[in-house]
Amino acid sequence: MKQPMDRDVMAMRVAREFQDGDVVNLGIGIPTLASNYIPEGRRVTFHSESGVLGYGGVLDDGEGDIDLINAGGQFVAPLPGMSVFSSADAFAMIRGRHIAVAVLGAFQVSERGDLANWMLPGRGIGNVGGAMDLAAGARRIIVVMEHVTKDGQPRLVRRCTYPLTGLRCVDLVVTDLAVIAVTPQGMELRETAPGYSAADIQAMTEARLTVAKDVREVEL
């Protein structure tokens, strides 16, 4: 039976990518969820472009402090060893390649790893926020998104048709249906959601996929 991954499973799969000692920047939405699923025994430090390193989980309205937020404006918990700094310093860390992994949402990813996640065409006005800085600066970019649009259009494309955030920057894509690596040779299908064949995935993907020798069902 075909079983797409839900948001928590996608977040869990993303979190498995975090290595011990990594400093990680999480975008809004599913990326933020990944902080709930850090693998046992790995020490991961969270960075936010709001100007904080080493913060904890998201807090609810009652516990929150307006002076301790993440980039999405959510309240977060202080942790021992935390530090705060200015936006200029926060982005010096990003641009200077000190962030090991950024986890971002996306509208489209091209087969060579171009990322489009900041602006919908035709909307006239876009919020770029820190997206382009993260795309250019994080040492590894993981995109987490639905495999296709609400209309069933592929998001993994040959060339992005939406305005670009960064060129050749995406390293790994985790969707509800698959885990796909961007390699110098193009996109490689590495894992599938339960019940999906490589052919099923390619059928919903405009980008050309090669299939990893050891392609398998996603493991958590």
Partner: protein
């Protein structure tokens, strides 16, 4: 050397007085990150009441309702300046709410063609402001290379990677929201409310700080000063404690 008499010189007793000389056409740096933390709300309100027009406003957002706030918390952002038609140009990284259906005074003014918008990546915006304060005329950054936001900008390869030339930003006035000031103008902040404030404080001809409390010189540990007093011309204390 510092004397007690110097105290009175930077400390202003009203927000209205602190913003009184801002002329039409001034370039302003204001905003914090978007939420109430780090937002110089009293200075913004005073500028609205003062009425200067044709302003350029440089900030991270252009007024986002509810961002980083407690449920139902009211706070004044630069939105009031758009509402009052005081702004002709905006430079921001996150100008509008995520949802296109949320109307804001900025969005309305932009749709009506009343305000010009320049969108800049957040880190590039912060660095351009820092450069303005630090006497760096321009710099090469990899951010935005190959995207629409680099259109019309000079590019160049360094180490095999495309970079974009970005120019410094300076302002006539910066509005800063800090936690504590001493009478020399040294400032400290609270948590993520620091955000754009320290860079903006360096990049304006006249920097005005809105703070929770003002203490005598010597009360802030020299090691803990975030914005040295050299950058701060005027200080006004917010009414009430804390906020």
């Amino acid at each position: 050397m510092a004397t007690d008499r110097s105290a009175a010189r930077k400390v202003f007793d009203s927000f209205a007085r602190a913003v009184a000389d801002i002329p039409d056409g001034a370039v302003m740096m204001i905003d914090g990150f978007g939420g109430p933390g780090g937002m110089p709300s009293f200075l913004i309100a005073a500028l609205r009441d003062q009425g200067a027009r044709n302003l350029t406003v440089i900030g991270n957002t252009a007024g986002l309702p509810g961002f980083g706030a407690k449920a139902g918390q009211e706070f004044i952002t630069t939105a009031v300046l758009y509402e009052n038609r005081q702004v002709r140009k905006t430079i921001a990284s996150f100008p509008v709410p995520r949802s296109p259906s949320v109307m804001t005074p900025f969005r309305k003014a932009w749709q009506a063609g009343e305000v010009e918008l320049e969108v800049a990546p957040q880190g590039t915006l912060a660095e351009r402001i820092r450069a303005g304060g630090a006497g760096i005329a321009a710099f090469y950054t990899p951010t935005s290379a190959g995207t629409d936001l680099a259109q019309g900008k000079e590019t160049r390869e360094f180490g095999g990677r495309l970079h974009v030339l970005e120019h410094a930003l300076t302002a006539d006035y910066a509005f800063i929201r800090a936690h504590r000031a001493d009478t020399m103008g040294n400032l400290t902040y609270r948590g993520t409310s620091r955000n754009f404030n320290p860079a903006m404080a360096t990049a304006a001809r006249v920097t005005i700080a809105e703070v929770d409390e003002i203490v005598p010189a010597g009360e802030i540990d020299p090691e803990a000063v975030v914005t040295p007093g050299i950058y701060v011309r005027r200080i006004v204390q917010r009414p009430g404690a804390g906020q």
